[in-house]
Symmetry: C2
Subunit: 195 residues, 2 copies
Amino acid sequence: MARSDIEGVRREALIQAAIGAIEVEGSLDVTMAAIARRASVSPALAHHYFGGKDDLMIAAMRHLLKEFRAGVTARLRAAETPRQRVGAIVAGCFAPGQFTAETIAAWLVFYLNARRSPEAARLLAVYFRRLESNLVAALSPLTGRGAARDIAAAAGAMIDGVWLRQALTPKHAPDAAAAIGAVERFVDAEIARCA
Amino acid sequence: MARSDIEGVRREALIQAAIGAIEVEGSLDVTMAAIARRASVSPALAHHYFGGKDDLMIAAMRHLLKEFRAGVTARLRAAETPRQRVGAIVAGCFAPGQFTAETIAAWLVFYLNARRSPEAARLLAVYFRRLESNLVAALSPLTGRGAARDIAAAAGAMIDGVWLRQALTPKHAPDAAAAIGAVERFVDAEIARCA
DNA sequence: CTTCATTGATTGACTGATCAATCAATGAAG
DNA sequence: CTTCATTGATTGATCAGTCAATCAATGAAG
């Protein structure tokens, strides 16, 4: 492997290890040693590349955010009608990579962390704003701008709620189809109310 | 103060202090020293009454659960029609004591903790089961048992989602009326679908 | 093709701080 | 005098972060 690639590989491995450790532990209270062990490097190396634990956590969060956004935008590009665009966003929220108990637990951890870390709060705010403005844009042609805002807020809450419940019932495998169905039914009902 | 009351007073104070500390910190990673300081006692006393940190956390969680349940059952007793019973449950979820950013943060912390603590998971499971069965019982006369189950699950998810969003936007004070309105609109629409 | 200096990767050992938990001692109420 | 509440001091463990020292790859000079 070319030497210039090593840094990228290590950073990636450490970020994945951090997310994995957070998922398993259900808390940001994971040791650098545990993360480093997962990435098969020494704890010192994690500090070498990320400076400190906080920076690694922010990097891990940014990674999750980026993955999520990529899934949504890919689905949005394939959509043609406004209603399909709404469906694309909903489906993106329950994509196989996103809708697992472990990933959701990691999201929750980051949510809570945002209460303490301004940087984490800023990242999450950007994510929420993008998701909501995507939804509003997709809904506006169907319901008008004002109603679109209300529906987007409610649908967003419902999506988060389904996520949350899923994270807490590790007995059942996440049922993405049922989740999407519930949210879509809600959206359809709300659109009908505006027609 | 009678000597026999002291223990109860201290336990109560320590539980409240624990919840307060968790709310502020947004994590179970609060020190016994910080909790004890909030309760104006020494750290050693907290251990004396609760045995260990885990036990104190479980006690705090149990306390939150009990408060929540008391609010819902009080509202349920005042309801007369099935639809009113549904409304009572929804309103109970957004009661002033429950629907604050700090309390919600504490709930989230306990949620995540349930991934690690079997006792916490058991307590949460009881809470979920009760809430859902209350909802199903209230909805069944209106929609039939099968549909009631589906609607209860979706409404529960929506309630949790509204909670979650609220915990993450500490800028806005929680708007209980809007939250109740959104959930009730959803429930009404779902009931209408079954009529 | 060698040699060797440079640079980045990597680590083990260490440190200072923090924290849960313990315990023996104190003191007040009955 | 007995019992229980209460605490200060202490301990052992854990962890983030540091540092000086190796190791390995690259490339330039001869």
